[in-house]
């Protein structure tokens, strides 16, 4: 396999709060290879967004970041703002959930794409206009020349997200980080955006980090999946492996909680959805041992409450399928 374009190793992020440090990311590691899609899955507060913001130096001053993130051979953590600015956009493009708040409402589409183009190279006004129009066409916006003069509020949600993607592509990034990029969109528009990203990825060979809570989307686009809980990776593996043989009780819980649209049974003949009692822990007050143990339906081992289980290979699975649970390590995997 080729060298990873992005390798994150033992990343920690804590925020200073009045109640002591909130430990939001607690030793996250993953590798992204060129042309591949890595999905980072988790619920609110699992640390999935904060980790990607940490890589790009986009967190506020109250955040303490440790660990390593190597992009294209160079370390990102601890670099100066100036150096990081060069990486953002040119090396790593980013698309967020809500294009209405990430776009500037008082600037035209052309100005905003132009800003991204000028940040990476010297271009003339005419050059900006034609390159911006090219980018809009590339992300599937018809009548690009007219759309360049539009303001964000004049575009639909799907169009705005396409503009965000055009901006992210302006610097020809090697990695695209999409953070809940389709969450605010209707499903038929989501289908358009998923198709667009897959096409762009084929054409440009970008590595994509897809951060989402939506396991359905993950099933369709991911090569490799990282499941996060309380700031840690609790399970990772190739997408078929992870969905086909989920090993961690949390992953199983998440998958069981999902209704399936094409289940032919009528509602009244269906079983109840699987639920997990309780809530994810407060990052300023993490439980000792495994952070999931207070909600875990298995809790098979006395160590669960005292010792955090290491992320270890799942017995009988492919090497890259790993889970952080004593349950599997004991061979109790059913």
């Amino acid at each position: 396999m080729t060298a990873p374009v992005l390798a994150v190793d033992d990343l920690h992020v804590a925020f200073r709060t009045r109640r002591g440090p909130a430990r939001v990311v607690n030793g996250l590691s993953f590798e992204l290879h060129p042309g591949r899609t890595l999905a980072v899955v988790g619920e609110s507060g699992s640390g999935k967004s904060v980790s990607s913001l940490a890589l790009l130096g986009l967190l506020p001053g109250t955040a303490q970041v440790r660990g390593s993130a190597v992009f294209d051979g160079a370390e990102l953590i601890g670099r100066s703002e100036e150096e990081l600015r060069r990486v953002r956009g040119a090396g790593i493009g980013m698309v967020f959930q809500d294009p209405m708040t990430s776009l500037n409402p008082v600037l035209t589409v052309e100005r905003q794409i132009g800003e991204a183009l000028r940040a990476h190279e010297k271009v003339s006004d005419d050059g900006v206009r034609s390159r911006a129009a090219e980018l809009l066409t590339e992300v599937g916006i018809p009548d690009a020349a007219a759309r360049l003069r539009a303001y964000p509020h004049q575009l639909s949600g799907g169009m705005r997200q396409r503009v965000m993607i055009a901006i992210a592509l302006a610097g020809n990034p090697k990695v695209l980080i999409a953070d809940e990029a389709t969450t605010a969109l209707d499903v038929t528009v989501q289908a358009q955006i998923l198709e667009l990203i897959e096409r762009l990825q084929d054409e440009h060979g970008m590595g994509v980090v897809w951060i989402t809570h939506d396991l359905g989307v993950v099933a369709g686009i991911a090569d490799h999946v990282v499941v996060m809980y309380a700031g840690r990776c609790v399970e990772e593996g190739a997408v078929d492996e992870l969905f086909g043989r989920p090993a961690h009780p949390y992953t199983r819980g998440l998958l069981g909680a999902l209704p399936v649209v094409d289940d032919p049974r009528p509602a009244r003949e269906r079983a109840e959805l699987v639920t997990m009692p309780g809530l994810p822990p407060d990052p300023a007050d993490l439980p000792p041992g495994c952070a999931f143990h207070p909600r875990c339906p298995v809790r098979a081992d006395a160590r669960c409450a005292t010792e955090p289980p290491p992320l270890a290979p799942v017995p009988g699975s492919a090497a890259e399928h790993r889970a952080a649970t004593f349950y599997v390590a004991r061979g109790g995997h059913a």
């Binding site: 619920e43 609110s44 639909s156 949600g157 799907g158 169009m159 209707d186 499903v187 038929t188 528009v189 989501q190 289908a191 358009q192 198709e195 809570h213 939506d214 396991l215 359905g216 989307v217 993950v218 099933a219 369709g220 991911a222 997408v239 078929d240 969905f243 086909g244 819980g253 998440l254 998958l255 069981g256 909680a257 999902l258 209704p259 399936v260 649209v261 094409d262 289940d263 032919p264 049974r265 009528p266 509602a267 009244r268 269906r270 109840e272 959805l273 699987v274 639920t275 997990m276 809530l279």
Partner: protein, 318 residues
């Protein structure tokens, strides 16, 4: 007793030039869950509101258990309000932050003069909290002291306070995390069976709707374009829009999801202030043909318990 509890006929709700609901005929049967799905701006929430007369219809009628809601006077409306309730998407926004949850849950009791007296009301509030899975000892707490899922339970307890027959659930799980969504969905289903409730379950999430709804109605641009048994609407959709919608909902099974044929619609939803002539879906429909621009299709049967407004099943006009 008719098996139809709520009936909308020729219902229109216009906001200025915007035709949010534009000619809907719909029946909700006693004891069923009718799912109402559609994408942003299709008019599904407005329709839910109009059935409870929380917005005034521009035209058409709504009947509740034989009573013409649209013509009801103050006293009749008050009686109607007790028999109907609404569960909202965002429990942050629908609960008063300065009131304890017991006050919020008890308010409908006071308004409708139910369970009179402090002790009776206190007992009833405690009972309601238990029914929805909240600890009655937390009655004195404020909304911010609860998680999103618990706050939604407070909203549900409040909705049940007046012992309603008909509950409109408007995106009740949209702002919750997956594991919490499942808890709320299971609770709503359990409550329906326990109290014989009739639900209109309004959601953009077709998979969630399929989990709870006996029948499903699909809306597009102010109209119901298809209605039928849940398994028929998602299994053998009769309207091209439903087909696209079903195909776009991701399935959490990788091999199946990768091999599914997604129907990717082109373009955006037209403005509800200026809908296309003829069939409103024709500008984006992959199966558009000659009659579509000139004839405005009506819902017609396409199978047992299924109807669609599409010329593919025979050309019709409104």
């Amino acid at each position: 007793m008719s098996d139809v509890l709520v009936r909308a006929s020729g219902l229109r709700v216009h906001f200025g030039p915007v035709r949010a609901v534009d000619g809907v005929d719909l029946e909700v049967r006693r004891g069923e869950t009718l799912g109402l799905v559609g994408e942003s701006g299709c008019g599904k929430s407005t329709l839910g509101n109009a059935l409870l007369r929380l917005v005034e219809p521009t035209d058409g009628t709504v009947e509740f258990d034989g009573l013409d809601v649209t013509a009801a006077g103050r006293r009749e409306l008050r009686a109607l309000r007790r028999r109907t309730a609404m569960i909202f998407q965002d429990p942050y926004a629908s609960l008063d932050p300065r009131r304890t949850v017991a006050e919020s849950i008890g308010e409908p009791l006071a308004i409708h003069g139910l369970h009179k007296g402090r002790a009776a009301r206190r007992a009833r509030v405690g009972e309601l909290m238990e029914v929805v899975g909240l600890n009655p000892d937390h009655r004195g707490r404020y909304p911010h002291e609860f998680s999103g899922g618990q706050r939604q339970r407070v909203g549900i307890a409040r909705a049940l306070a007046g012992e309603p027959d008909f509950v409109v659930c408007d995106e009740p799980i949209a702002s919750l995390d997956v594991s919490v969504q499942a808890q709320v969905v299971n609770l709503l289903v359990r409550l329906q069976r326990e109290f014989g409730l009739t639900y209109l379950f309004v959601s953009h999430d077709l998979a969630a709707v399929r989990q709870v709804a006996d029948r499903v109605a699909v809306m597009y641009l102010g109209r119901v374009v298809e209605i039928g048994a849940g398994s028929s609407v998602s299994g053998t959709p009769a309207h091209p829009y439903t087909e696209a919608l079903v195909s776009a909902v991701p399935v959490p099974e990788p091999t199946r999801e990768r091999s599914r044929q997604r129907i990717v619609l082109t373009g955006d939803v037209p403005s509800p202030a200026d809908p296309p002539s003829g069939c409103r879906f024709r500008t984006r429909c992959p199966k558009v043909f000659e009659p579509c621009p000139d004839h405005d299709p009506v819902l017609q049967p396409t199978g047992p318990e299924q109807a669609a407004a599409c010329h593919l099943h025979g050309v019709t006009d409104r």
